[in-house]
């Protein structure tokens, strides 16, 4: 929110021409008070014997949770762990426990700016499961706790993937709940959180010998995914998540027929994928894939996929290399030129955007952008070669 221009209070010397010393004093007071509040809250939940105290603690948590500050996020996550560990008692009922955990997780993961690392994803998975159950029963809106839990899990992929080994994400109710998060009536931030979480369970959902859901549901998810594409900003992590899911779907014979053109368009992010990315590796090592994509009769998609294969040509298995050459020969350059031009202009556009972003950024982000620019340049070389019909 932007404040309107200052029209009142200028007459007072104390109004807002605050000295640096005063500002520092208030900032220090804020930090001290946050520490005191969380210390008291932690003590209350570690020894939850007094019902009025717990009620007051819950009221205080509800008030402090909306504040976006790093200390709040960090302390809230620590408090969440305390809340989840403390056993249920007559004064600390299950209802209060889940309410406290909801508020603590809201304080920790309400905004993208400050996301503490998850130490034990099992607790968050339990929390997520509980809120999925409640959401299934209807009544109160559970979007926010679910969003916070998914955001927390997606923010710490390593521990989450490890924890998911002891969790079944293909369980029908869980699958249904996740799929429901992409529906149009859900808030964009919830969809985004679900999308960022989806790659973590991608291998259990898409790389399976048998489909985990029926064709109708698969089609529905693909359509929902296509509809959420334009609902939030495509930041780097979103682009990566989209591509990871898409590559898993492409590689699956069950999912591939349901991918809609809006999803295929996301192949444009292929240069973001790291070299050791498992879904990409599986895709480019799949000899059937090139024919399957040819069969789609979508020249633009085929052009993209050929660029991807050309880009990774040195790493392709001989069988795929042979098939790629064959397909390239089959293509009449003139027929595919408009699509290749479209691909080329897209790559040029992304190169320009990445170059501008590189000028503004420093540190690890600059490193990522540098890699992306290298990949894009390399892809452009292949694309130009493809356009003029070179082998």
């Amino acid at each position: 929110m932007l404040y309107p221009p200052l029209t009142r209070g200028e007459s007072s010397p104390h109004t807002f021409s605050m000295s640096k010393a005063n500002l520092t004093c208030y900032s220090r007071q804020v930090s001290l008070q946050i520490d005191r509040i969380y210390e008291r809250l932690t003590r209350t939940f570690q020894n939850p014997v007094s019902t009025p105290k717990i009620s007051r603690a819950l009221a205080a948590m509800e008030l402090v949770a909306p504040l976006s500050k790093e200390e709040i996020s960090r302390n809230s996550y620590d408090l969440f762990r305390v809340v989840m560990r403390v056993p249920i008692s007559p004064s600390y009922t299950e209802e209060k426990k889940w309410e406290a955990s909801r508020l603590a997780l809201q304080g920790a993961y309400k905004c993208d700016k400050f996301l503490p690392s998850v130490e034990d994803p099992q607790e968050i998975l339990a929390f997520l499961k509980y809120h999925f159950e409640l959401a299934g029963r209807g009544g109160r809106d559970h979007n926010e706790p679910i969003q916070n839990a998914l955001r927390a899990l997606a923010h710490s992929p390593g521990p989450t993937i490890e924890a998911l080994r002891h969790f079944d994400p293909t369980e029908p109710s869980f699958v249904n709940n996740i799929c429901r998060l992409f529906q149009n009536d859900k808030p964009p931030q919830l969809c985004k959180a679900a999308l960022l979480f989806l790659p973590l369970i991608g291998d259990r959902w898409f790389d399976t010998p048998h489909p985990i859901m029926g064709p109708g549901q698969m089609m529905g998810l693909c359509l929902d995914l296509a509809s959420v594409v334009d609902r939030f900003e495509h930041t780097h992590d979103v682009q990566k998540a989209f591509l990871a899911v898409l590559l898993r779907m492409i590689n699956s014979p069950y999912w591939r027929p349901h991918i809609v053109p809006e999803n295929w368009r996301l192949l444009e992010y292929f240069t973001l994928v790291p070299d050791d990315d498992i879904p990409l590796r599986s895709c480019i090592d799949n000899p059937e894939l090139i024919d399957a994509i040819s069969a789609l009769n979508n020249p633009e998609v085929l052009a993209f996929w050929l660029v991807v294969l050309c880009w990774k040509y040195e790493e392709l298995i001989p069988q795929v290399q042979k098939r790629l050459k064959a397909v390239m020969k089959e293509i009449v350059p003139g027929d595919n030129r408009p699509h290749l031009n479209a691909c080329l202009s897209m790559i040029n556009r992304r190169l320009k955007a990445a170059g501008e972003a590189l000028e503004r950024s420093t540190g690890p982000a600059a490193g990522d952008l540098g890699t992306e620019i290298d990949n894009l340049r390399q892809a452009r070389v292949y694309l130009v070669a493809l356009r003029v019909g070179e082998d």
């Binding site: 404040y3 309107p4 009142r8 209070g9 007072s12 104390h14 402090v64 905004c111």
Partner: protein, 485 residues
Amino acid sequence: MFSAVASAFIVDVQTELEPDYEEMNHALLKIIASSALGNIPTDADAAFPVWNGPDGTIIHVQTILYSSLSASLLAALIAMMGKQWLNRYASVELGSIIERGRRRKRKMDGMVTWKFDLVMECLPLMPQVALLLLGYALSNYLYVTNKVVASVVIGFTAFGLLFYLLIVSAATLSYNCPFQTPLSRVFRFLVRFDNEHKRCLRRFGELFGRCLDWFRRKFTRKKNRPIPRSSGTPDLFDWNGPGDRTESPVANPPGQSPMTLNWGLYKSDSDCIDWTLEKSLDADVTMAIARVIPEIVWHPGIPAAPLERFYDVLLECFDCSSRPPTVKQDLGEMAYLSARALVDMVTQRVAFVGSELVRAALESISARHQTMGLRDYEGDSDLKSTLGVFDHILGNWESSTSMDWQNFSFTIPHHSWMSSNLFTHAIPALQTFDSLPSDIRGFIIYSLRLDPPPPAQIVADCLFMIGLVLDFQPPLNALSSPDKR
């Protein structure tokens, strides 16, 4: 008057500076008469009277009297000149307001540079000296003439002198002493007490205070009662009344942090406000006062706050014939400032003094009040929210229509003031309802949810309110910091 009195005595004593021919004639006639009767005078009686000049005491007395007269006349001269100087300062000169202002400023600067006030303050010193000299001369003269008569004059002169010395001493030691004289000011300037002297003086003061207490207990039946405080109100302020600040009337004493509360200053601020409201009907003055009110801590040492007066000011800004009332044209700022001042005073008085003491004023206001916070006021969120809070204070925080914080768009100073005010309000509200009223909760959530976050002092106030929910003691500095918004 001094000159006339001194002159009268001078004329009377003047005769003793010349030979007394009547007395000499009387002595000669006595010798002649005695000789004629055949009684030839002998020894001293036969000596012809010879004048050997005036008596030493008379010369001394007359010198002092002339000094007294000169001092009086000099004082009169300077007083006349002072009148001329002041006339020049007060003279109205032609020109634009800016030019006149500039000339007035130049004159004022000159007065400050040439210490005009000190010169004018020292003027009464001369008649005082003249009076002292007159008393001394008179005592001396009468002592020679008649000791009984002299004792009366000496007694009164000594009493006057002693009284004057005590007054000067008291005024030197205490800045707040009302019996200030230029001499005490000079003494205070000249005498810089070191710590040891101060300790001695403090000990002496304590001893004197104990004696005074003893006398008071002995002779005073009725003791002044402190302002009662409601039983439910926390004892937030360790109120001991305004301290005597000998060193400086305005600034905090050296070594005292600027965050330290200066109760006396708030008390004098409130007194100034009372006096100004009583003397002035100027709208600009009222607005200036309304701006200052939130900067004062209305602590228990302040006997009353001008609640009803400001409610009248608020009502004057509204057209109460429509329901709900509308703000009159061009009076939006006045309405806002008076409403803010009113809310601030009521909140502070309830929190710091107790609702019992403001109940009468609030009941009187409630009887006349119509709900004002429902109108949009052309998007003036500051005014609408202030009036809304005032409606709630007069009604009940829980039962009134809740404040729609999310739809407000505050200026930073107002937002900051609102957070400070609600924090003050939260203290008694928590005691009454055992939980924060929903409107205060709404305000905290609204403020903390802002992106980017509001200024640090608003966040601090919100966190202090959250602290109250967790039974933390309210921090005194935060409630009454000098930069109260």
